[in-house]
Assembly symmetry: D2
Homo-oligomer: 254 residues x 4
């Protein structure tokens, strides 16, 4: 098996075109900043895909080649076609990793894989956030200290309507008084999923070296064993010898 | 709060009409046998609903009044309307319990709540099954001994493509050589879910007193706290005083 | 089965004798305040036990009759005899519930049941704590709103060295900048365990009606099914007919 | 960080001296067979340690250098000194991996880390076992097919008295009618633990290529991030400015 992992960074890529403040921060889109960072890591290749490309840039061929998909969306979740969501979901269940960023908590793909609304409380007043590293021995937090501090963040508060995570990696403290499970992992089928809270488009979150490091670590972790195991529901023969059976109806008269 | 729990037993109710052997066993449908049993329990009321009723018998009013929904389906999963599936899913996430029986592992509602294919191996040669009680202190196994033995069962074998359950209550041994996680619990949103493997339509499974007892226990368990908490994603004010913020762009020139 | 649950409140009961401020707050000991509250609830009986009683008040007879044990300790964890710890652990594994309060995170019984150090960060400057209710449909949070606010608390901060809880019920926000998993559940053997963070002896925490309500709810929850299943490791006969076997050594020459 | 992982294989090493049949199979001890296999893997170094060595061969220096410890014991669990058990436990909580084989389910170290009795049913009639691979995308099952079949095994049956595993990797079917969670993972502190059921001393289990592959895979997995994080309970200063506090006694008169 080759050792290079292939990551696709998917971005809604709308705010960067319509909001001057966002364009100023991310003139080529957040996906470009993330892909450039990932390409700087040894053993990682990165491509990008965006909502307004044909098939949202997520053709069968693109997903076939991907070990990990990173997803950022916010205002246009509804414009993502159901058939593409189903395609991505199938690919995750087969073994592709998925990293879901910030406002993509409300993306169709995240909701489809978790089965819940993924709702939360929110507030946007550029307050301080401190992400506590609860699992310092997890691959995702390699090289991360006790916490990551962000001077400005959109607040997300509990209750976050998600299934109990396999592991909670980061817990956030917010200046305004809330807390949040900001880094969570789940396995679904053979795919590893990581939700990572930071990433509001009007702050320079994706230039923060610690945030980038977490995303890079998460990409390696989510690639997992790089299996590809399609779903199947086979009718199988017995492994042990079984004598022919009559149905035992007990006391039931039939 | 009144103490009576309201259970709705939903059945596809097709095999009983089209397959003479099934009709013989369950002339009024499997749902009727289950509902009759549930009504025999103190503090339990039971109603039924079937696929061919308007809205599959699952109107808003029916779901509003339900504490627990029991689901059996097999050949007509695709005929269940997506809008009704969404309605049931929302109601589970708000707090209604859901008990999923046997071949309903492939029902839309189970797949929607779990996010996986829920596929498995299978074989139908009336072989013996022994369900080992792995959690003898769980409410669902109250009054159940070390195991339940079924003389004839359709076999379901691992890998069962489900998210890791909160608890595995029963593990099955099959005469032909397979094993299966036959009783599994999950919480999704505020709803409790129990998958219970037995229930093949051509065997008198739903007349077995131990199987019935498990289903009755599960109904009480799944009713939970009988909360009703709708999903919401509110914009909230800070609880702590926060001074006005400027965005800190660090080294990023914007 | 009778419906009354029997709770034993265990307290180290030293600070109340040696620290005037604590004695002022809890002249008869924290255990007395908690037991009085529990006795005020329908269907709950409460007794107390303290470190300096013979066998720490935890005789076989006391534990036999207990459905739930509540534990508060701080300065004298080491004085609890190992034999009594083992006795309590066995009783929990058989099915007795255990509620561990505040500084009892470092008690022998909690460490023995969880297998980890249960260490954490701490600070005592009477700062504000807000306990967010993350599982509003759990029996433990019945009647509790979005959060509980304590004007003065000793701070406990992550990383809390515990096994991943079955469920995190409360997450705390602290004025000084930390977060903590303040309400956690685990099952060990047949016993249900709840760790609840509040309870510092120099603040009137155990007079707070919300804190008391949580403890009362937790007592009912931890009583569980009130089973009593001793540990056993039986040599059992096969359930299926097996023909006599020769050992298959494969290619190994022996 | 060097990439070689250091594994120590610990064996009680008594049966091989006292039971002719076991000596014939494992003349140099089971630990030697396992260590030889591990040394044959790229990037793995292996040493051995046994009960009758000073400090059971588990000096501070040996544990310091170990990334993973493999443990086999059966008849002499009680002879393992408590101080050494505590030393190993501390090292696991700091980050060393631990692989517990077969009858070591009753070892002091396994019980100390899990907090439960780890009891089970058993029978020794050389019956057939089939270990179903429930997590084919987990690192531990790399290269393993749908199941591993052992022609002769001691039977272990449920209920296995363990905390709910993080993941169940293998589920066993036994010819005599039982099932068992035969491959289970837990994290405790920063250490990864894998329990693997096969390994009865009178059968050539540790010559089976599939069993060896699982143990080799598990050693790599358990090495994890090779962190070393000692336990600490620091008194920390606030990260946020806090004004001096008076205790709020509410309605309590003190």
């Amino acid at each position: 098996m080759e050792n290079v992992i292939h990551v696709v960074v998917w971005n809604e890529f709308r705010h960067e075109k319509t909001h001057p403040a966002v364009r100023k921060l991310y003139p080529k889109g957040m996906h470009t900043v993330l892909a450039d960072y990932l390409r700087s890591l040894p053993g990682v290749e990165a491509a990008t895909a965006t909502l307004d490309e044909p098939e949202h840039g997520l053709t069968e061929a693109v997903l076939d080649a991907a070990d990990v998909l990173i997803w950022w969306g916010h205002a246009a979740h509804d414009e993502v076609q159901d058939a593409i969501v189903q395609r991505v979901q199938n690919r995750v269940l087969e073994g592709m990793g998925l990293i879901v960023l910030h406002s993509a908590h409300f993306s169709k793909i995240f909701q489809a894989l978790l089965g819940t609304h993924c709702s939360l409380k929110w507030r946007e007043i550029a307050e301080k956030e401190r992400l506590w590293n609860v699992e310092p021995s997890h691959p995702i937090t390699e090289g991360i200290g006790e916490y990551i501090e962000l001077p400005n963040a959109e607040m997300y508060g509990e209750r976050f309507d998600i299934p109990t995570p396999d592991q909670v990696i980061f817990l956030s403290w917010f200046e305004g008084g809330e807390v949040f499970r900001s880094g969570c992992t789940w396995q679904r089928g053979h795919g590893r999923i990581f939700y990572f809270r930071p990433g509001h488009e009007t702050y320079p979150i994706f230039y923060n070296e610690h945030i980038l490091k977490v995303i890079g670590n998460a990409a390696r972790w989510a690639a997992g064993q790089r299996v590809r195991i399609p779903s199947a529901c086979p009718n199988v023969k017995p492994l042990e010898a079984i004598s022919p059976k009559e149905i035992d109806f007990g006391d039931i008269e039939v």
